[in-house]
Amino acid sequence: MVSKKLAIDVLNAALATGADYAEIFYEDSHSYSLSIENGKVETSSSNLMNGVGLRLLKENQCVYGYTNELTRKGLISLAESLRSSFHDERKITVTKLDMIRVKNRNPVTNSYDGISREKKIALVREGIDEIESMKDPRIVRYIGSFADNHRFVAVFNSKGKWFKRDTEFGRLAYMIVAADQNGFETAFEGPGAQQDISYFETKVHAREVARKAAEKALLMLTAKECPSGKMPVVIGNGWGGVLFHEACGHPLEASAISRGLSCFTGKDGEMIASPLVSAVDDSTIPQAWGSIDIDDEGNPGTKRLLIKDGKLVNYMIDDFNGRRMNREGNGACRRQNYKYNPTSRMSNTYICNGKSTPEEIIAATKLGLYAVGFNGGSVDPTTGEFNFGCSEAYIIRDGKICEPVKGATLIGHGDEILKHIDMVGNDLALGQGMCGASSGSIRTNVGQPTLRISEITVGGRGGELK
């Protein structure tokens, strides 16, 4: 840990050449992961990460560096190296550091550090036993895994503030490979939370998670190739929210908006979605996968209404990118670890509940696709062009869910697709994912209720939808 006295000295060394803001990001994290493959413990691995990132800002310029040398000499040397980018007189001197206190919605209760390997193995083994009990010869490879991460962060900045954040995450996952004479299919299920191991003992059941993954892989073996072309698509709740995450979430991050590099730049207050759509990025959901009590710049996590009844009303903003927008940060500044320069990112992002039931949405669709499992996707925030791949989908005929199809990819432009949402369900759910961008890979929840897009381009090998 960096002492307050040392932090003040490092900040002042960094500020000597005219930076208008300096910030020390200290991190000490422990993580552990294990995997059981085809019934036997295959890997068990521990990781220790300990370093400091130092960020200096001067108007719209940012200088960032990190080091593992956590001695006074190492940190002062980093400050001296970084400050050489600026050549002005000192503007700020830090004399004291007051602690920022925020509501702790994500307490570390029963730390994973104190839970034995054997107990974590036994948890994963429950799901492995379930897969083995299915005795299906088409399951050729099955991997169960558990990973936990205990991360302590302390941030000191030239506004005379400091704070600490202690968080823990656990994730249980199963990956199944099924094969028959026609080839292979895979399926993955991986629930995670910012909670202790009791979450996996009471709220998530390893056997159910593992069986769900296995059944999905087996089902996809029987699926036909997905038809292609433009068609109505009903997107299932939970992980279906990856559509909004890619098509709209990334372009609403200040890193793109502030530079005029987003398809939504300049559209503040305009209708960018169907009036049925309201959307939120909420860092405050207690113990959720993407929640933070306080962001990397010391701004408290907030619930941000991004779209209200189709109208664009807010963004994910960090203080640095906010400078170009004349806006304050709203608690969205995040990074993977001390090796990354932080920026505006999502937390728990979802489309809000509408009024239709999922059954009504399916019943109202004569011919289309029902997509319920997803592999993730990507977007170019500047053009809004996005894609996401479906791992489980079905054809809807005359308002009924029919045969499964595989290999569907949905594509489009973010600023157009939201306008084509014509039914929104009332079954909001969240799904846990890892989101990659310039400040690294971070935990985010995606989410939505079941909804329908009146027309979207579907890529697949199954020919025309009939």
């Binding site: 294990l34 493959e37 521990s46 220790l48 390997r117 292979f184 005029g260 489009g412 381009t457 890529g459």
Partner: protein
């Protein structure tokens, strides 16, 4: 010596054999936005991957800095982790190859070029992109980065190997608009010889990659004969070569099971791993310390070998191919410099051969739209129509779908237009018999 404490503690703790893999890097990067340095970064970092054998099982642990406390942590975690391992794979700490063919991949001249000179080129790049075409409305950013890296392997069997390398990258991104359509594009240049960098050439490529996409629209949904650009081929090859991973073959989850010596691709396809080719990707030992060598993986369509590390090779009773690669908590495999043998036809000749079809220049979302296990893919794409043997209008909002195995079997020609990519892959255009396009 700095790391002796680890080996002494490992011995005391009953670790039979132990090894450290130490990666150290120094990196520098800066970027411009609107002719202002908006990001500057300078970093020194290390990664230490430690493993040891206890009762015949591997235990692993990693950290990112070094002290006696870290040495104690690694030893304790190796023992605790090894004690719960159940798989019966043979575990090896390698004593060393009889001979290594050392290649120098470090260019000392790069650090002699001043930061001012590197910065000057970046300003020139930004200006050249801005002025490259009237439809360019924004330079999304230009960035210079350089990295100096070293890999050291040392173990209790007395092996100590080290390789140092360096490189620099210039990258530019442009945004262009025509009517209501906006497109963004980028290009980069990777080398360790600064004299080879041509600002104007890179700027031209950035602009070309961006404005070429303007005016595109979807085409009819149907099956087309296609030319895939080297950029697309590179993305698909990185997955295709994965089927040669011996561990996946042994675990019954590869499309190359039982295919050794058999045809897995068109006769036009020869795919080689060339770790000893002299370029910035050269590696003369793999991540287990085994001497690397150049090898054909697929020769004229026929699978020549699977790719092995020591453990998977022992299980198959063969010699390792020197492709061990540390990734995550276990030893995997990777190629170091993958080269698709180029053909003789120019891109124009490939277009002429197609007559009417599509030219696919980019695919997106590989992690979501390509199933590495089944080889099935459906990917957001951009490109052009090929009409009467010539490049015609652009294609937008389309996907291309297929299966990797089918695609590489359907190769009718390999182009002569080889390009080398930062991922360590060299390849050229491919002419494919058929690909499913979803558009209108």
């Amino acid at each position: 010596m700095k790391y002796d404490k680890f080996f002494a503690l490992a011995k005391e703790a009953g670790i039979e054999e132990a090894e450290l893999y130490i990666g150290e890097s120094y990196s520098l990067s800066f970027s411009l936005f609107h002719s202002e340095v908006d990001n500057y970064s300078s970093n020194k970092s290390m990664t230490i991957l430690a493993r040891g054998i206890v009762n015949g099982k591997f235990g692993t642990a990693t950290c990112d800095s070094w002290s006696n406390e870290h040495a104690k942590y690694l030893v304790q975690e190796i023992v605790n982790n090894a004690n719960v391992i159940e798989n019966e794979d043979p575990a090896f700490i390698f004593e060393g190859s009889p001979k290594y063919k050392k290649i120098n991949t470090f260019n000392p001249n790069l650090s002699k070029i001043s930061i001012d000179e590197k910065m000057k080129k970046l300003y020139e790049l930004e200006t050249a992109i801005k002025n490259g075409d009237p439809r360019v409305i924004e330079v999304g950013g230009v960035e210079y980065s350089e990295s100096q890296e070293s890999v050291t392997i040392m173990n209790s069997k007395g092996l100590k190997l080290a390789q140092k390398s360096n490189y620099f990258v210039y990258v530019g991104q442009a945004v262009a608009r025509e009517g209501s359509q906006t497109k963004s594009g980028y290009e980069l240049f990777l080398e360790n010889d600064f004299a080879k960098f041509d600002v104007q050439k890179l700027a031209k490529e950035v602009v070309q990659n961006t404005v070429d996409q303007l005016g595109g629209e979807a085409c009819d949904s149907k099956t087309y004969q296609a030319v895939l650009s080297p950029n697309v081929v590179k993305s698909l090859l990185s997955f295709f070569v994965g089927y040669a991973d011996a561990e996946d073959v042994q675990k019954q989850s590869s499309l190359f099971i039982g295919k050794l010596g058999q045809k897995v691709a068109s006769r036009k396809i020869t795919l080689e791993d060339k770790p000893l080719k002299r370029n910035i990707f050269s590696r003369w030992f793999d991540d287990e310390g085994v001497a690397t060598y150049n090898k054909a993986i697929i020769k004229q369509g026929v699978l020549q070998t699977y790719l092995y590390n020591l453990t998977t090779a022992a299980k198959d009773g063969v010699t390792t191919t020197g492709n061990a690669s540390r990734g995550g908590s276990k030893m995997g495999i990777s190629t170091f410099f993958l080269e698709l043998k180029p053909g003789k036809k120019s891109q124009e000749e490939l277009f002429q051969q197609v007559g009417n079809g599509v030219y696919i220049t980019d695919v997106q979302g590989l992690h979501a739209g390509l199933n590495p296990q089944s080889g099935n893919f459906s990917l957001q794409s951009t490109g052009f129509l090929i009409k009467d043997g010539k490049q015609d209008r652009g294609l937008d909002v389309i996907t291309v779908s297929g299966n990797l195995l089918d695609l590489f079997n359907d190769v009718q020609e390999v182009g002569a237009d080889q390009r080398v990519f930062p991922s360590g892959i060299a390849c050229s255009s491919l002419l494919i018999k058929k690909i499913v396009v979803s558009g209108k």
